[in-house]
């Protein structure tokens, strides 16, 4: 079997004295997806930041393509696509200009072309020339996804990819994830108990109290976002 894309050894993270991640051992093979489910403050974003090399773990380490995240050269960074809480988009540039810019930085042969194609893919072609400052939040989220995926990374890190997307947006997002997997890329996505996805090429983990374990779907978890539960709450 092929070498794992992500491999962490006793990965631990402290902020000050408070532990956020505790000796996480986690492995992800090419072409596989992992969904990290966890509550607010569970440490999902922290984990993703570490995997992206944006933050250094306090103890233990993470290997991406066999390379320690603490010293990833450009060659390795090239293969990673990170979609974080922040969109990394310049408010005063237009959607197209932003994508073109990043495409250029990722050394794509035809920045303009790939910008166009990705604007289409995320359904933003119509707003290509709108300043990012002036687009709605969901649109910014879509652009952020395009930015992360524009260079066809082999490791895709998504932090709450479905947040503030409408149903079409969610569908697009899901399709993009699917495509990435089919491309042979690996995907790590952080979410809040949704969606409960079956399928052989998905592992679903739960991040709680700093430990990463297999996810056991509890009813109210998976349906947190559906009307059912909230109705009951609103009418108790």
């Amino acid at each position: 079997m092929s070498a794992p894309v992500v491999e962490t050894h006793k990965l631990s993270m402290l902020y000050g004295q408070s532990p956020v991640l505790r000796e996480i051992d986690f492995k992800l093979l090419p072409g596989y997806g992992a969904f990290v489910i966890g509550g607010n403050g569970a440490g999902k974003s922290t984990l993703l930041r570490i995997l992206a090399g944006m933050a250094a773990p306090t103890a233990g380490g993470a290997l991406i393509f066999g390379r320690d995240t603490r010293r990833m050269s450009a060659r390795y960074r090239r293969r990673i696509g990170m979609m974080a809480h922040q969109s990394f988009l310049y408010p005063n540039l237009t959607a197209r200009e932003n994508l073109e810019f990043y495409a250029a930085l990722y050394g794509l042969p035809e920045p303009r072309v790939s910008a166009e194609t990705w604007l289409d893919k995320v359904g933003m072609a119509q707003f290509a020339d709108a300043r990012v400052r002036a687009v709605s939040r969901g649109m910014e989220q879509r652009l952020s996804a395009a930015r992360a995926l524009i260079a066809d990374p082999l490791l895709v890190l998504l932090d709450e990819p479905f947040a503030s997307l409408d149903s079409d947006g969610a569908a697009i997002m899901a399709r993009l994830i699917r495509e990435a997997l089919d491309r042979g890329a690996s995907v790590v996505a952080a979410m809040h108990g949704v969606p409960a996805i079956a399928g052989t090429d998905f592992q679903v983990f739960e991040l709680a109290r700093g430990h990463l374990g297999p996810f056991t779907p509890k009813e109210e978890e998976t349906t947190a976002w559906t009307g059912a539960r909230i109705r009951s709450l609103l009418h108790r």
């Binding site: 250094a56 922040q86 408010p91 990043y102 930085l105």
Partner: protein
């Protein structure tokens, strides 16, 4: 398109988006000149010294503002993080940022020179030309220092404001050299006389630029 070119192009574009920024740069140095002159209006005849002072103050000011702008532009939406995720080596990024800041300052300087001539009614000529390289050296050095430091400060809680603090001690020696050189040049001293000052400045520029290229990565990195 090389990353360097891409970043630089983006910065200049943002700068132009900012609304006739070059014009406001001219106005900026004009302000400095004006203040200098008013404050000294009746103090003394406007001689080479005060002219030199004016133009260097203009430089410090535009330098601080320029470098800060260049890097604070990266803070909104955490763009700097996005940049550092890209497969570009920090040195290239630094070079681009430095370039942007330098261009910014150079324009301001050119404007300031013009103002200086008018305000201190100097006459165009060789002495004036002599100051040009001095100022450019100065601008380069200051931009080099300020950009590096802005990278640090744009992430510290202090935000852009910490920049001058850091910039001062590092830059003051070159500043002094530059000021003396300019004064001398405007005073009509021959190139030979100001060579010693220039040497100091060149040394500093080399030092600061190399330091910047090497250290920028650590200055800008997140963890």
């Amino acid at each position: 398109m090389s990353p360097f070119a891409a970043v630089l192009r983006k910065d200049l574009r943002l700068e132009l988006r900012g609304g006739n920024s070059t014009l406001s740069l001219v106005a900026l140095s004009l302000m400095v000149m004006a203040v200098m002159v008013f404050t000294q209006a009746e103090a003394k005849s406007h001689d080479a010294e005060s002219a030199a002072a004016a133009i260097w103050i203009a430089m410090v000011f535009s330098g601080v503002i320029g470098a800060t702008r260049v890097l604070t532009a990266e803070r909104e939406n955490g763009c700097i993080r996005g940049l550092l995720l890209c497969p570009i080596d920090p040195a290239g990024l630094y070079a681009a940022k430095l370039c942007a800041a330098f261009i910014f300052m150079a324009i301001a300087e050119a404007a300031a020179m013009l103002m200086m001539v008018l305000f201190f009614n100097l006459d165009f000529g060789v002495p004036l030309l002599r100051t040009a390289p001095i100022l450019m050296l100065g601008a380069l050095g200051f931009a080099a220092a300020a950009t590096l430091l802005a990278a640090i400060s744009s992430r510290t809680r202090a935000g852009d404001m910490i920049l001058p603090i850091l910039a001062v001690p590092i830059y003051v020696p070159a500043l002094i050299a530059g000021v003396r050189a300019t004064a001398a040049a405007l005073g009509g001293a021959p190139m030979g006389a100001i060579a010693q000052w220039l040497k100091i400045m060149v040394a500093f520029d080399i030092l600061l630029v190399t330091a910047g290229c090497l250290l920028f990565e650590y200055a800008a990195r997140e963890d």
